[in-house]
Symmetry: D2
Subunit: 162 residues, 4 copies
């Protein structure tokens, strides 16, 4: 089912969007998108599951910007599967509209690697979707969570946190 | 990125799966699926966003089983957009595997209509994904949340709760 | 972009639908589908690329009905990638509608394995999409076309042709 | 099922790729893509249906480059549904790889609007997929093929042909 046109629910503590100050100072990585026909559903707005494709692409490009090539990582035997996600749909976005997916790493707890998301209009006056995605690093061969990340990945992730 | 092979994180209060007693007594609607090639990613397991297509189909068929034809509802001017969702990926499911999507309505609070989800192996011995999806009823013409549902829908939803 | 509501073009030799006589005598395998919200686009009809997910599922289940478990085949090192496809969209199908995907193997030429498709209304009075998909068997390790299929697969495919 | 790793079939007249001379002189519009996790399947290569999302985005952006805003067109009551498509998969493209989707309008015949496609490596040394997509202009209200395009669209399409 589509995301709503107007529903503006009161923010909920768990994934309430941060006040938007400045993309640069706050360390958000920005990934622009435009709504194509295949992103929409019968309502004319973006289907709620479509966002996960953008969310993923934004994360992969964010990692690339920090020197982590995700395809390389997989070849090296390390995967970063999603183990948890949580999203709120604040306002629908429709065929032809542009938006910015903003993402940044959040403080990690133990093996959990968290990314915050916030999808906004290009002028930052409206926001559409906010959420959090949690990954873990998995050893592809053993099928187990890696407690120690490959050093290059660890260094890059630490940089993302500052 | 793919869902993990093994990662078994400690359950988290927000969306911890209910103890599975009995599908019938507990009022779960069951929707079976099989993993086809297009559901998978490079890892050989189901891509984490694919689940949202199954989750939606299970909800639409659950509503149909209660006499609510979703396409009819939309024609009548009422939409049920997703305004919030939250999922945990407990165990990966791979190409060719079968699973059961279980869903049931949860108690609603105000205008929020909540569905619980639990995706299990056919023998109910393993579970793959658990989560919650929240919808609201929206008047398609006005683009506003409907505080009073169409009577037929309301009656059907009330039945789902018992 | 969506598939059309009415456009009924004159059939074109390349992929003109076979006259529909009798599903059973003609050896069609039937796979039923229902249009869910995520299958649609802004037009309210099914997005033209969505059909490929149904087409694939119908083919995999057809093979299963003949004793070929596709996931097993892949584990054994044999893949069946699509190398060519061709579809015509005759009539749109909309949110909530049901349809039958009909498929059958067509005579193969050399290494090419062809499947015909025809998507119809449940009462067989209307047809929506017709097409052909060509596969080849590939040795996953060598990355080369297999000129000799695994015997079990060969036997099953030969049966499909009669 | 995935597209193949090597299969290099002899070109087939219907959709044989044009010899690549020069993107600019030959009037190809270029749309770059990168393979993200959700584009792949169990084989590690792009799932054969994924290409249709890129093909569509390339076409919409090509039209935009000529002054046709697709979302505007739809608002004005004109849709451009796909009525036929035909693709050949020459070589697989894998997680993390980049490619260029090239598209250009082909001569139209009657109401049919044809777009040629050719997906290549960034250095134009390899090609992955070639194909043709045929659209018609449909009056959304009447659900009929428009024999006379809106003048602005007609003018833009004529420009695309030269």
């Amino acid at each position: 089912m589509s995301s709503p046109s107007q529903p503006q629910l009161p923010p909920n503590g768990a994934i309430a969007p941060k006040t938007h100050l400045n993309a640069t100072t706050e360390g958000w990585f920005e990934y622009p998108v435009r709504v194509q026909p295949h992103h929409t559903d019968y309502s004319g707005a973006v289907w709620h599951g479509t966002y996960l494709t953008w969310i993923e692409a934004a994360r992969v490009e964010y990692l690339r910007s920090m020197g982590i090539d995700f395809a390389e990582l997989v070849k090296l035997g390390c995967d970063l599967p999603v183990i948890e996600l949580s999203f709120r749909y604040h306002r629908a976005i429709r065929l032809g509209q542009e938006a910015i997916i903003k993402t940044r790493m959040n403080k990690t707890a133990g093996v959990r690697i968290n990314f915050d998301y916030r999808m906004e209009s290009p002028d930052a006056q409206e926001y559409y979707v906010t959420g959090v995605v949690t990954l873990v690093a998995v050893d592809r061969k053993k099928g187990k969570i890696m407690r120690n990340l490959p050093p290059r990945v660890k260094d890059a992730l630490i940089k993302l946190l500052h």
